[in-house]
């Protein structure tokens, strides 16, 4: 990031012929002190991030060493030693729960977010667009635990009483989709967790998509309109192809948030079953909700280590999606052509 005014900071180079003497070089002792203070705060941020990874890695060493890859592939989570089951930590059910809820949340939230973003940018007059995006983006300000209590007392009964039976009557007879809604509707299950997550990541995907759509060049849109295309044809022909990479980036940012979201999911997902079943109507765990529920119960060193490894897993996966999202969106906002992204 070289800025034009930084030229002023360079040492002036006197030319032998014209300048009678050197230009006075500005040197102020305060500059050194200031840059050290500012710089050390910034270095602290890097140290903090490294400390996160190192400390979590260090504390999960015991679990990594003892279970290795079976931690990810195994599905037996037995923190307590019994005659039948030796102690083992296989996080597959939690990983499964996280993948399912995040994926379903993404499927639910992305169309809503893209639709709203298109309305805000392409259809609504400026003032209305501003109001609409303000209202939807306010959802970010609601704390996770508030979503949790709303989910527990409003959404769960609604899902149990209305949505889930309706889904069963519609999807039940269809061969593959029917398996998704098998079982008794109980409300506290993977589906409800997904709906809460969808609501929570909606504003994230919306604000990224809106920003991307606002950066689509006018010329292409106007060109298509001039050729007599309808509004919808302009959107599918000129706007969405250009914005595709950025919208995928927004969805990934939403996915990263969904993966790490803890409290709201913990309160509605049931936290009881560790079996993996295709039905969305079974209660489950996500990685994050397993940590929240079991952290204070971890009484043995290896149990604790296993839980920290869950945290490490969460940290790595969320960071990977964040980095991907970052590159996808920055590419467009800096003027690259998304179709080659």
């Amino acid at each position: 990031m070289k800025k034009p005014w930084m030229v002023l900071l360079q040492k002036p180079r006197p030319s032998k012929e014209t300048s009678p003497g050197r230009l006075p070089l500005i040197k102020d002792p305060g500059d050194r002190v200031f840059s050290v203070i500012i710089g050390s705060a910034s270095v602290f941020v890097i140290v903090l991030l490294s400390a996160f990874v190192l400390l979590l890695f260090y504390d999960s060493l015991e679990s990594i060493g003892r279970f290795g890859l079976t931690f990810i592939s195994g599905s037996a989570w037995n923190p307590v030693e019994t005659k039948l089951n030796p102690v083992s930590f296989g996080a597959l059910p939690f990983i499964f729960g996280t993948i399912v809820t995040s994926a379903v949340a993404l499927i639910l939230a992305t169309p809503l977010a893209i639709g709203s973003a298109l309305f805000i940018v392409e259809y609504a007059p400026l003032w209305l667009g501003k109001i609409v995006s303000f209202i939807i983006e306010l959802l970010v300000a609601i704390p996770s635990v508030a979503y949790g209590i709303w989910g527990l007392f409003v959404l769960v009964p609604f899902m149990r009483g209305t949505v889930e039976p309706a889904l069963q009557t519609i999807l039940g007879p269809i061969p593959v989709l029917g398996a998704l809604v098998e079982g008794t509707p109980i409300g506290q299950d993977l589906l409800t967790g997904s709906v809460i997550l969808a609501i929570m990541i909606l504003p994230t995907i919306l604000s990224v998509s809106r920003e991307i759509l606002q950066n689509v060049p006018r010329l292409q849109k106007e060109g298509m309109l001039a050729l007599g295309a309808t509004k919808w044809e302009v959107l599918t022909g000129a706007v969405l192809p250009y914005a595709r990479g950025g919208i995928v980036g927004g969805a990934m940012l939403g996915l990263a948030r969904a993966i790490g979201e803890t409290m709201a999911v913990t309160m509605v997902i049931g936290n009881s079953s560790t079996k993996i079943s295709p039905s969305l109507l079974t209660p489950g765990y996500t990685i994050a909700s397993a940590i929240a529920n079991q952290f204070t119960e971890a009484d043995s060193a290896v149990y604790f280590s296993a839980i920290v490894e869950l945290g490490l897993l969460l940290l790595l996966v969320a960071s990977v999606f964040n980095i991907l999202a970052h590159f996808l969106t920055q590419y467009i906002l800096k003027g690259g052509d998304a179709r080659h992204a």
Binding site: M1, K2, K3, W5, L8, I26, D28, D31, F34, S35, I38, G39, A41, S42, V45, L48, L49, L55, L56, D59, L112, A113, G115, S116, L118, F119, I135, I136, L139, P143, S144, V145, A146, G148, I149, W150, L152, F153, V154, I199, L206, W232, E233, A256, I259, G260, T262, M263, M267, A288, I291, F295, V308, G311, L314, L315, A318, N322, I323, H326
Partner: protein, 286 residues
């Protein structure tokens, strides 16, 4: 031939109208979510807000009455301490990223801030637990404050960075050309120009941290009594909401709703009213 063309145009128009309808539907659905949630929180919570709610300590298991005063107090104490820790670090980081942006270090700092800001908050809880709770203090208000500070730092750094970028480079150039040293340019020219904006973004970060639950669960734990000692477990509103909401008692459910309403009101005041005041401040100084 003409008829065929007309029919094609009609079908194109119909599909345009159809998708317009879908887009409107998506928008209406997205907007209504906020109103539905706020409506439920208001209706269920407003009844719980009486005098006792703000002044009394929680009653033992299952007994009706009492309040959540320790939680309100705990949240305020921990937020204040967290802000005191996070503001200098966050603002300094932002200044470094913008004003020393030519260095390689600034690029990596920016990247680190990005990643920190998107860390799952429960991971922050585990980190502070392993770093502070396990060895130094046990579950404590201090650890809770640190966790909230870690959440605030990247948010402050990111938003203050955006604000600092708004200062036109010509302003910096003018000052430098007059022989002003760089640190004076930053402290006495750049920052005063954007002070209201910085204040707003810091308050937004504090508001974000006010609602954090997961990290506090692992660090400050919660407490049913008044506690001013930062070395002891401390109550907080989000923790109180969580433990009351998952309890089996109706009275506690009502209090959880009340606390949620209060928490959202506090967040709204921190983020909304501050914006209003800084706008007025801007007008007056001009």
């Amino acid at each position: 031939m003409r008829d065929l063309e007309l029919a094609r145009i009609r079908s194109r128009k119909i599909s345009a109208a159809f998708f317009y309808g879908l887009i409107i539907l998506a928008t209406v659905l997205s907007i209504s979510i906020l109103f539905i949630i706020i409506y439920h929180i208001f209706v269920s919570g407003v009844g719980a807000l009486d005098f006792d709610f703000f002044t009394k300590i929680p009653k033992p298991y299952g007994e009706a009455g009492g309040g959540i005063a320790p939680a309100i107090l705990g949240t305020l104490i921990m937020l204040l301490l967290a802000a005191l820790i996070a503001i200098p670090i966050g603002v300094a980081t932002a200044i470094f990223i913008v004003e020393y942006g030519e260095t390689k270090l600034a690029t990596s700092v920016r990247f680190a801030v990005e990643l920190l800001a998107e860390l799952p908050s429960i991971v922050v809880g585990i980190f502070i637990w392993a770093l502070v709770v396990r060895n130094l203090t046990g579950y404590s208000g201090f650890a809770g404050s640190l966790a909230l500070a870690v959440i605030m730092i990247p948010i402050i750094a990111r938003s203050v960075e955006e604000i600092l970028k708004l200062v036109p480079d010509t302003l910096r150039e003018a000052a430098l050309a007059l022989g002003t040293p760089r640190w004076k340019v930053v402290l006495f020219i750049v920052i005063p120009t954007v002070l209201p904006g910085m204040f707003t973004s810091i308050m937004l970060a504090v508001a974000r941290a006010a609602g954090e639950t997961a990290p506090l669960l692992l660090t400050s734990l919660g407490n049913a009594f008044f506690n001013f000692n930062l070395r002891r477990p401390m109550a907080a509103m989000p923790l109180q909401i969580y433990s009351y909401a998952i309890s089996p008692y109706d009275d506690w459910h009502k209090k959880a709703w009340g606390a949620t309403l209060l928490l959202i009101a506090i967040i709204g005041i921190l983020s909304g009213a501050v914006k209003y005041f800084t706008r007025r401040w801007n007008h007056e100084s001009r």
